[in-house]
Symmetry: C2
């Protein structure tokens, strides 16, 4: 899988490096919507030679090159989402966890036609409680 990552970075116009691959290996393959801090902890577990500045540099670079999306949905935390397809978001009010909601799960009418605005992108942001799921909150 590492070779794949190298290819993806190169295709995005990013020079691969050990640090960038380590970050990519986590953040491009998670659905956990991690914050910069969480990315740093996760990656440092296996790859300790990684500074905070590099984490921010790398995440910002990935966003700029279109490998990641940056979301600001909740209290003071910027999180990153590797899912590039348009989709919606659900925020669990108890845990703060963010989940992707498939585009087709929610029908939205005629946003692009809103007059007075040229809408480039949009999403539905939902807040509430996750049912049943029983996935215990792995808290930060």
């Amino acid at each position: 899988m590492s070779p794949d990552l190298i290819t993806r970075l190169k295709e995005a116009g990013i020079q691969p490096s050990a640090q960038r691959l380590a970050v990519a290996g986590y953040v491009l393959q998670t659905d956990a919507h991690p914050s910069a801090d969480e990315v740093m902890s996760e990656v440092q577990a296996n790859f300790p030679m990684l500074s905070r500045a590099t984490v921010y540099n790398t995440l910002n670079l990935f966003v700029e090159k279109g490998l990641l999306r940056q979301l600001v949905l909740a209290e003071g935390k910027t999180v990153f989402d590797p899912c590039l397809e348009p989709h919606h978001h659900f925020i669990d009010e108890e845990s703060g966890r963010i989940e992707d909601v498939p585009w087709d799960a929610v029908k939205v009418g005629d946003v692009k036609g809103l007059k007075g605005y040229e809408v480039h992108e949009y999403m539905v942001v939902m807040r509430g409680r996750k049912l049943g799921g029983s996935r215990m909150s792995k808290k930060r």
Copy 2:
């Protein structure tokens, strides 16, 4: 109009005070979606005896008592919106300005019925360019 504000605060269970009224006079009657910092500057222009701590205390109190809604939509900034009706938001990508979009302007299908989730509230967040409107950006 001041008497009205006093009444609103009291009805919300908030003891009026000079500082609280000054903050209310601005933040409850603007559609500018100000951040805490902007609230402080605006209010201090006419009412200099107001500390940063009080601005935060007051805004948080208003949110808690339901006079304001707190939104986290863009780049690390928490903003406040006195519009209590459900509505959507449009973010101008150039200026960063946030505008309210009436609930009925965008049809959203069947969110509450999303299975697996109990959705308490939701909104559509749109990004793009404001057309024509010619309202010049009164910059921060």
